[in-house]
C-alpha cells in the first residue's frame, strides 16, 4: 500500500514543471515516507503490529507493519534520502523515476503481509533494478544487466511456483513462518527458499551480484546495494528463521566473499564481494535462529545498508572524478580527493567493526550469538571474515586508490559534484551516530526482539583493537604484495557464461547437424518402405538383377519386419500381463 503510493508519486516526477521544483519533489518523497514511518512508530495509526486489509480478486491482501518490517523500512528510507541527494545532479528524470519505483517496490515488498503482493513487488523490484544497471550506458553494463535479469527471473519464477503450490496445498496466502521438513509437503517452501536465496546472493547463486553492481550506473548502484539483497534478507528472516543450513551457508559465504574480494582489481567489484560477505553474516544469523542472532542479522542489515552505501558513494565519486575504477589505473589520488578519502574511511572503519562506528554495535551481535550457541567453526569463519573485511576495505582499497603511487598515470581530474559530498557526509554522520551512545540505543530499540546486549564492554573493545592493529601491521609490512593485478577472476558464473555458451554453440551446430542427418536418413527409410509396400515386386526384380538399391530395399524390408515383430511382441505382452 505504502509502496504503491510511492510508485505512483514517483511516476509524477517528469510532469512537475520547473527543474528546481522537480528536484525538491524528488528529494522529499523519502523524507515524507520517513515522517510517515515515525508517526507509525509513535502510534498514530494504532498499536504495532498493524494490519490493513484490501480485497483483490478473491483474495484478501494485507499490508502488515510490525517491528521486523518497520526496521527494514526505516533503513531503506534513510538510504533513499542519502542516495537521492547523491544523485540529484543527474539530468535524466527517468533515472530518478526508476530509482523511486525501485524504492517504492522494496518498501511494498517489506510491508507485504501476503504472498501475492510480495511477488508483485518482488518483480517490480527486479525490473527497475535492471534499468538502473542499463542507465550506465556502456556495453558491459548492457550485458551485465541481461545476466542480472536472467538470475532474477529464475528467482521470481521459483518464488511464483512455490507460492502457487503453497496456495494450492493450504489455501492460505499469508506470508509467514514456513517450516521445512524433508518430505514432499514442503516442496513449495524449498522453491520459495531458493527464490529468496538467489536474491540474497547465497553461494553458489551469488555470481550476479559482483557481476552487475560494478557495471551499474554510479548513482543507481547506491540503491541497488541497499534494496534487493536486504529485502531478501528480510524475507528469509520472516519465512525461515532457524533453518540450520542457512547458518552454515552464511558462515562459508562470509569467508568466500572476503577471499574473492582479495583477488579482484575493480574497486566496486571488491566492495560487491564484501556485500556477499556481509550478507553471509546476516544469513548465518537467521540460520542460527536465536532471538539474539536474528537481532544481530537485522541490525547488521541496518548498519550495512548505510555504510555500504557510503563506501559505494566514495568509490562512485572516484569514478565520476577520474573515470577509472581499476586499481592498476588508480593511485596517488590523496592530493586531489582528500575529503572523499576521509568520508570513505569512516565507512571502511564502520564495515570492519571498529569501536565507535556502526559496524561494531551491529556485527558483534551475530558473532556473539554463534559463541553463545557454542559453534566454534562458525565463530572462526565469521571472525576470520572480519580480518578480510578490514584488510580489503580498510587497507587494500584506500591504499591502492589514494596512495600506492606518487601520481596516477595521465589523470584527468574533473572534481566531485558537491551534492555527492553532502550525501556522503550525511551517511558518514549516521555511521558514527549509530555507533555511539544515543544512536545504538535507538537502533537496539528498533530491533524485533528485546534483548539485553551491551557492545561496549572493555574486554570486547580491547580484543577488537588488538585485532585491528595486528591486521594493519601485517598489511603494512607486506603492502607491496597487495597491489591490484589486472585479471578476470572466475567465479560460479563461469558455468553459465562459458559452459552455457558452449552448450548453446553445441546445440546450434553439432546438434542441428545431427538432427539434419537423422531427418535425411529417416525420410530415406520412409521412401524405401513406401516402395516396399506399393511395388514389392520391384524389390525382387532388382535384387535378381543384382542392383545395389534392391539389396538396400531388402535390408530395409527386414528392418521393418523386425520393428513390426517387436511391436507384436510388445502388444501380446500388454494383453497377457
Amino acid at each position: 500500500m505504502i509502496g504503491l503510493l510511492i510508485i505512483i508519486s514517483s511516476l509524477l516526477i517528469p510532469f512537475i514543471p520547473f527543474k528546481l521544483l522537480r528536484k525538491i519533489y524528488f528529494l522529499l518523497i523519502p523524507v515524507f515516507v520517513f515522517l510517515f514511518l515515525i508517526s507509525i512508530s509513535k502510534g498514530f495509526f494504532g498499536e504495532i503490529p498493524i494490519e490493513w486489509k484490501f480485497y483483490f480478486l478473491n483474495y484478501e491482501l494485507t499490508c502488515r507493519i510490525d517491528k521486523l518490517s518497520l526496521v527494514f523500512a526505516y533503513v531503506f528510507t534513510i538510504i533513499a534520502v542519502c542516495a537521492n541527494i547523491y544523485s540529484i545532479h543527474i539530468k535524466n528524470d527517468l533515472e530518478h523515476v526508476t530509482a523511486m519505483i525501485y524504492y517504492g517496490s522494496t518498501i511494498g515488498a517489506v510491508f507485504a503481509g501476503d504472498l501475492i503482493s510480495l511477488y508483485i513487488f518482488w518483480k517490480i523490484m527486479t525490473i527497475s533494478a535492471v534499468f538502473l544497471i542499463w542507465f550506465r550506458g556502456t556495453r558491459a553494463a548492457r550485458s551485465a544487466g541481461f545476466r542480472y535479469l536472467i538470475w532474477h527471473v529464475i528467482s521470481g519464477s521459483c518464488l511464483l511456483a512455490g507460492i502457487v503450490l503453497h496456495v494450492q496445498n493450504t489455501g492460505s496466502i499469508e506470508f509467514d513462518n514456513f517450516t521445512i521438513f524433508m518430505d514432499s509437503e514442503s516442496f513449495p517452501y524449498l522453491l520459495i527458499l531458493l527464490g529468496f536465496m538467489i536474491n540474497a546472493a547465497v553461494i553458489p547463486f551469488h555470481s550476479w551480484l559482483p557481476d552487475s553492481y560494478p557495471e551499474a550506473s554510479i548513482t543507481g548502484a547506491i540503491y541497488m546495494t541497499a534494496f534487493t539483497t536486504k529485502c531478501a534478507v528480510y524475507a528469509l528472516a520472516r519465512a525461515f528463521p532457524g533453518l540450520e543450513i542457512l547458518a552454515w551457508l552464511g558462515a562459508v559465504m562470509a569467508m568466500y566473499g572476503v577471499i574473492f574480494a582479495m583477488m579482484v582489481n575493480d574497486g566496486r567489484r571488491l566492495l560487491s564481494y564484501h556485500i556477499v560477505s556481509q550478507l553471509g553474516y546476516m544469513v548465518c544469523g537467521i540460520g542460527l535462529g536465536t532471538s539474539l542472532a536474528i537481532n544481530g542479522a537485522v541490525s547488521l542489515a541496518f548498519g550495512n545498508v548505510i555504510y555500504k552505501g557510503l563506501l559505494f558513494m566514495g568509490m562512485g565519486a572516484v569514478i565520476v572524478a577520474t573515470g577509472r575504477s581499476k586499481f592498476t589505473e588508480l593511485g596517488g589520488l590523496y592530493k586531489y580527493m582528500r575529503s572523499t578519502f576521509y568520508l570513505y574511511m569512516i565507512g571502511a572503519f564502520s564495515i570492519a567493526g571498529f569501536p565507535l562506528f556502526a559496524g561494531f554495535v551491529c556485527k558483534t551481535m551475530t558473532i556473539h550469538a554463534s559463541a553463545e550457541l557454542n559453534l566454534p567453526i562458525i565463530f572462526i569463519l565469521l571472525e576470520g571474515a572480519a580480518i578480510g573485511t578490514h584488510l580489503c576495505i580498510g587497507l587494500k582499497l584506500p591504499w591502492n586508490v589514494w596512495f600506492s603511487r606518487e601520481k596516477p598515470v595521465e589523470i584527468t581530474y574533473t572534481g566531485v559534484p558537491r551534492n555527492m559530498l553532502v550525501a556522503m557526509g550525511l551517511a558518514a554522520f549516521l555511521c558514527i551516530f549509530f555507533g555511539t551512545y544515543p544512536g545504538y540505543k535507538i537502533l537496539y530499540d528498533l530491533l524485533p526482539y528485546s534483548v539485553e546486549f551491551t557492545p561496549y564492554e572493555p574486554p570486547k573493545v580491547l580484543n577488537t583493537l588488538q585485532f585491528f592493529t595486528f591486521v594493519s601491521i601485517a598489511f603494512f609490512v607486506y603492502r607491496e604484495k597487495y597491489k591490484g593485478v589486472a585479471a578476470t577472476i572466475l567465479d560460479t558464473d563461469w558455468f553459465g557464461r562459458i559452459l552455457g555458451n558452449k552448450i548453446i554453440r553445441f546445440s546450434e551446430v553439432q546438434l542441428v547437424d545431427l538432427a539434419r542427418k537423422l531427418d535425411k536418413s529417416s525420410s530415406l527409410f520412409a521412401r524405401k518402405v513406401k516402395v516396399l509396400f506399393t511395388t514389392p515386386e520391384a524389390v525382387f526384380k532388382q535384387s535378381t538383377s543384382g542392383g545395389r538399391s534392391g539389396s538396400e530395399l531388402l535390408s530395409s524390408g527386414i528392418w521393418l519386419l523386425i520393428v513390426l515383430l517387436l511391436m507384436l511382441v510388445y502388444l501380446t505382452y500388454l494383453i497377457l500381463v
Binding site: F260, M262, I387, P458, P459, I473, F476, V485, T488
Partner: protein, 74 residues
C-alpha cells in the same frame, strides 16, 4: 605509520593483562584464555587469507582481463 601501529598494537596487548584481572568476562571458547589471542589471530589470519587467495587466484582462477569478451566473439 608502521611503527606507530606496532607500538599501539603491543600497547593494547599489554593493557589486556590488568583488564583481565579487573573486569570479569565470560569466555565461550578455550582459546580466549590466551592473552593477546586476537592479536595473534588477526596477524596470522591476515597472512593466511592473503596467501590462500593469492594461491587460488594465480593457480586456478586468474584469466586474462578480456577473458569473457574474447569468448563471446564469434
Amino acid at each position: 605509520m608502521t611503527k606507530v601501529t606496532i607500538i599501539l598494537g603491543l600497547l593494547f596487548v599489554l593493557v589486556e593483562v590488568p583488564v583481565r584481572v579487573l573486569v570479569k568476562h565470560k569466555h565461550h571458547f578455550v582459546w580466549e584464555e590466551i592473552v593477546g589471542f586476537y592479536a595473534l589471530f588477526g596477524f596470522f589470519g591476515c597472512i593466511a587469507i592473503s596467501v590462500f587467495s593469492k594461491f587460488l587466484s594465480s593457480k586456478i582462477l586468474m584469466r586474462d582481463e578480456d577473458y569473457y569478451e574474447k569468448r563471446y566473439r564469434r
